[in-house]
């Protein structure tokens, strides 16, 4: 390719003007994936099928037809979203040889929008982790510094966008799994309102929290992708029965009068890196200079978020992962009787972190502990939800850091699960409340990207994206690219 076309609008315009074909873009993405192989961001490609789809997009364009702004644009999906005839491993030995017998909603929606899925991205096993180190494919390396983590669990998706493999990727977010890797890798990543995007064909981790979201360089691109993947799906009973909102058209660049809430508890957090807090304050200053007003708000139950999250998420995971029993799909370790087959299959198929969460989740749901742990956590979830409802009575969006730190070193937290959990402090509350949120790059600390998190009220994707996009119109952090030594 004669020019660097690493964003959706650049690719769309070049396609529209006939300066490049979808086949060329797809070939470039596949080549880039191969040359970044050492970073372990992409775990499998589907070159032949992708090129055929690219040719179909080119043929449409030559006939003057288009499926929309994503037509012919290469994309990656996290390795927990199924596509007909393609493997879905969830980075687990359990699903090492699984090939999907059907298209999930994301494969369908992307295809309907003309996007070309070139392959699958690395992740923590069953999306359980904050570093993309718990994976059978090998730990993913951060393009800004290969000795550091991409974050997780959608680390491969965030890293792939940062490394310029594709302009867009899908991830899934349960406790921060889109936003924290977006922050670590210097890209934008959004978790929509719970129920906005269909979970049909997303391998379940914690069903009341899981939500799929886009990763790209800019908020505008997130809006474009979200428009394509949102909307009601009767096959997901928690899908919100509303059509996809028009989001890109609402990116006016105007934030005058917008009230930005700064939660006191988030900025007073012990252990947050001062440089991270400083970058976030500077980002809020930039929005204020554009006419927004910042004011302090309170989310008084913030410090209980991680405890509530890890109880609810593990409880739901222990139930969801009961399906991996060696009977219908996935790994089976043979034994003489059924019970023994279950135990051996599960013990060999799951990694340590997954086992730890299954046992914790089983424990908090078991007789005698249910009320003290699981029910209590659900009650605290109500309090956290109300915190946000009250805060949004006095502001339009809430601004916080995405993560208390920048990308940590690979291996730094691998042996300390609780310390790893605590790094999710800023991201777990939003999925507990079900509200939309985005992480956008807002500068660097010691050469590593810092993420600004913007949260909005339920169904408030438009205002979150408008604020994020307005910020990106006056800053260029989202235009910075890592120099990758390959």
């Amino acid at each position: 390719m004669p020019e660097t076309l690493d964003t959706v609008p650049l690719q769309r315009d070049a396609l529209g003007q006939g300066r490049v074909s979808s086949r060329e873009l797809t070939t470039a993405s596949l080549e880039r994936a191969e040359c970044c192989e050492a970073l372990r961001l992409v775990v499998g490609t589907r070159a032949e099928a992708a090129l055929a789809e690219a040719d179909a997009a080119d043929a449409r364009r030559s006939r003057g037809e288009s499926l929309g702004p994503l037509d012919g644009i290469p994309a990656l999906i996290k390795d927990n979203m199924v596509q007909l005839g393609e493997p879905t491993t969830c980075a687990s030995r359990m699903l090492e040889n699984f090939v999907s017998p059907y298209d999930g909603a994301m494969a369908e929606r992307l295809a309907a929008a003309g996007a070309v899925i070139i392959g699958r991205t690395n992740m923590d096993e069953f999306a359980m982790g904050s570093s993309t180190e718990n994976t059978i494919h090998g730990a993913a390396c951060n393009p800004w510094d290969p000795e550091r983590a991409c974050g997780g669990s959608s680390g491969g998706s965030a890293g792939s966008v940062a490394a310029g493999i594709t302009a867009l990727a899908l991830g899934s977010d349960t406790g921060g799994s889109v936003r924290q890797p977006a922050a670590f890798c210097g890209v934008s990543g959004m978790k929509p309102t719970y129920g906005r995007v269909s979970r049909w064909g997303l391998v379940a981790f914690a069903s009341s929290l899981d939500q799929i979201g886009p990763l790209a360089h800019s908020a505008r691109e997130c809006a474009m992708v979200l428009e394509a993947i949102c909307g009601h799906d009767p096959r997901d009973s928690t899908s919100i029965p509303e059509p996809a909102p028009a989001l890109e058209a609402q990116l006016s660049g105007d934030v005058s009068g917008l009230v930005i809430g700064l939660p006191r508890e988030y900025f007073e957090l012990e252990g947050a890196e001062p440089a991270v807090l400083e970058r976030v304050r500077q980002a809020v200053d930039a929005l204020e200079r554009m006419g927004a007003k910042a004011r302090e708000v309170s989310l008084p139950h913030t410090s209980y978020g991680i405890a509530a999250y890890y109880l609810i998420a593990t409880a739901e995971a222990s139930s969801n992962l009961a399906r991996y029993d060696g009977v219908r799909y996935g790994r089976r370790v043979s034994a003489d009787d059924l019970g023994e087959m279950y135990r051996r299959t599960r013990s060999e198929g799951f990694g340590d972190e997954v086992k730890r969460r299954i046992v914790l989740g089983t424990y908090v749901l078991s007789a005698g502990y249910y009320d003290a742990y699981y029910r209590k956590a659900q009650q605290v979830r109500t309090l956290l939800r109300r915190d946000f409802e009250q805060a949004f009575e006095g502001c339009d969006v809430i601004a916080t850091p995405t993560s208390p730190e920048t990308a940590f070193r690979l291996g730094e937290k691998a042996s300390d699960p609780l310390r790893m959990y605590l790094s999710d402090v800023y991201t777990v509350s939003a999925p507990l409340a079900g509200i939309p949120c985005i992480s956008v790059p807002c500068g660097e600390a010691e050469g590593l990207p810092v993420g600004l998190q913007l949260l909005g009220p339920a169904l408030g994707e438009a205002v979150v994206l408008r604020a994020a996009d307005a910020y990106q119109r006056v800053t260029d952090h989202h235009e910075r690219r890592p120099e990758i030594a390959l």
């Binding site: 719970y194 009341s208 139950h301 405890a307 009977v327 089983t362 956590a377 605290v380």
Partner: protein
Amino acid sequence: MSRISPEEVERTAHLARLELSADERDAMTRDLDRILDYVASLQRLDTEGIEPTSHPIPVPTPLRADEAAVPIDPALAILNAPQAEGTAFVVPKVIASEDEG
């Protein structure tokens, strides 16, 4: 005082159909003990009378017409089976034979 014993970890792992080696059990006991100690902070909150939240965005239970349909071709559904016969999943015997009591 520890919050969970190795025996409780073993019992819980059994409920989840997981087998742990002695080393795995001991490591998990240590990890879970710290995690349970951390989450015990929730007990400080008075939640008397607070409704639990099971789904963050309540939508009414959707109903569909009661019509028979084939969600997936059985021949496709069986493709990932570790062991299959026709469109049936084959598993080891479920009930122990008589001499095993």
